[in-house]
Assembly symmetry: C2
């Protein structure tokens, strides 16, 4: 049975302040927790709460059984799932970009759903790491975690200064602009380097624009159409960068 | 000043039951309401609530001034905007598909955010209409309306039986499958017909799969990557269908 202090401690992890105070966040949902259990290298499980008979934890993991009611009190999902893990926030590790790989750089992405969806895309398109400017939303926000559908277990995320990252990196830095770039469907694209995605409201920041070596735009096919959501723009951009590469074997 | 019955009537439109009882729904946010006012042909405004000095309604429209507090009581947004319109749900109109145009067909899309985002894409890619199976989420759900960012004012949506629509239409019917289709990046695609997008959990339904004339798949570039969100898959598919067409003049 969960004690009151347990419940309030776990619930507090919905707030950034407490996630960083305790250096813990929550991964929940059967698929994500199963994947976490298979691959615990980066994220260490502190506590694992499961519904009896609904989720089978491996024998070497100490799982705590909770009732439906208790799970409903600690979840951040609208319909609680049978498994919820409290996980350590790992110490930040900087991934040195390699000249032969493709990376995504997020410049001021504020919406956790967009951040998570882009991480899911990064996994799909074999992006080796995602670099995020310091003003991006937090990776451990429950809505970000949920939107990744597990990709946060597979794609490393580094918060860093993008101008510092791009200066003298000697790698292509591509970004889509609202005006003045080349039509993304018409020009050959590099198969390595950085794809920069700008914020929902302001696009790529003024410190980053001068560092772009490849300025692109995604054309619209109807005059007066509003704009693309940043996650759908990311999908189109990644597809155009990868389309001539050999896909993964199924 | 808003009366209590006014407030409860407007709030009730957050629920499908009352939307259809009153045949009304809500459009809110400055940009969407401005666009609605410019183009009131399909959606008739029943009442318009605005914050004084924060939103300027045209002289011929009767706007009702509300306080910040009143707006907070009738909004479905987390941060209330200066303008909210109660709008009539129009009678359904069936759009007869034309052989030269490109359409999207949604097969069991349940998430209002995905539905709205796809409508926004449809606007961007000059899709002439969106056909939705009867089990799709409702267009007038506040989350759908919000995610369209105004595209619902520009792209007609018809709820209909997809098998009936596709049978004997004599037009290409393209859909992405998880297995067994052609790599979307490698084959020539028709420039008209239907792009079918399947449900988040089950993909394209078993009644529709046999009617596909063009079976596609979007390859992954990393073994073990989970799946694409349907709105990002829609973005990639639309881009591949349109990439060789002339874009709209800016």
């Amino acid at each position: 049975m969960l004690s009151k202090p347990d419940i309030s401690r776990i619930r507090s992890l919905a707030h950034k302040k407490f996630r960083w105070e305790y250096k813990e966040f929550i991964i929940e949902g059967v698929k994500m927790v199963e994947e976490l259990l298979l691959n615990p290298s980066v994220y260490k499980i502190k506590r694992l709460f499961v519904r009896e008979n609904l989720f089978q934890a491996p024998a070497h993991i100490h799982a705590e059984y909770v009732t439906e009611n208790e799970m409903a009190r600690i979840t951040s999902l609208t319909s609680p799932s049978p498994a919820l893990a409290v996980v350590s926030i790992p110490d930040p590790v900087f991934i040195e970009p390699q000249k032969e790989h493709l990376y995504i750089a997020l410049d001021g992405i504020r919406d956790p759903g967009n951040f998570g969806t882009i991480l899911r895309l990064a996994d799909w398109f074999d992006i080796k790491a995602v670099y995020a400017s310091e003003d991006c939303v937090e990776l451990y926000n429950p809505k970000t975690v949920q939107a990744t559908m597990g990709a946060l277990l597979r794609v490393p995320v580094c918060y860093t200064s993008l101008p510092r990252l791009f200066s003298d990196c000697g790698m292509p830095v591509a970004g889509t602009l609202l005006q003045g770039g080349e039509n993304i469907y018409n020009i050959p694209l590099p198969d390595s380097g950085f794809i920069v995605l700008g914020s929902e409201s302001h696009g790529i920041s003024s410190e980053v624009v001068p560092l772009l070596t490849c300025k692109l735009f995604i054309p619209s096919y109807r005059k007066g159409s509003e704009s693309l959501n940043v996650a759908t723009a990311a999908a189109i951009t990644c597809a155009m960068f990868r389309k001539d590469a050999p896909p993964a074997a199924i």
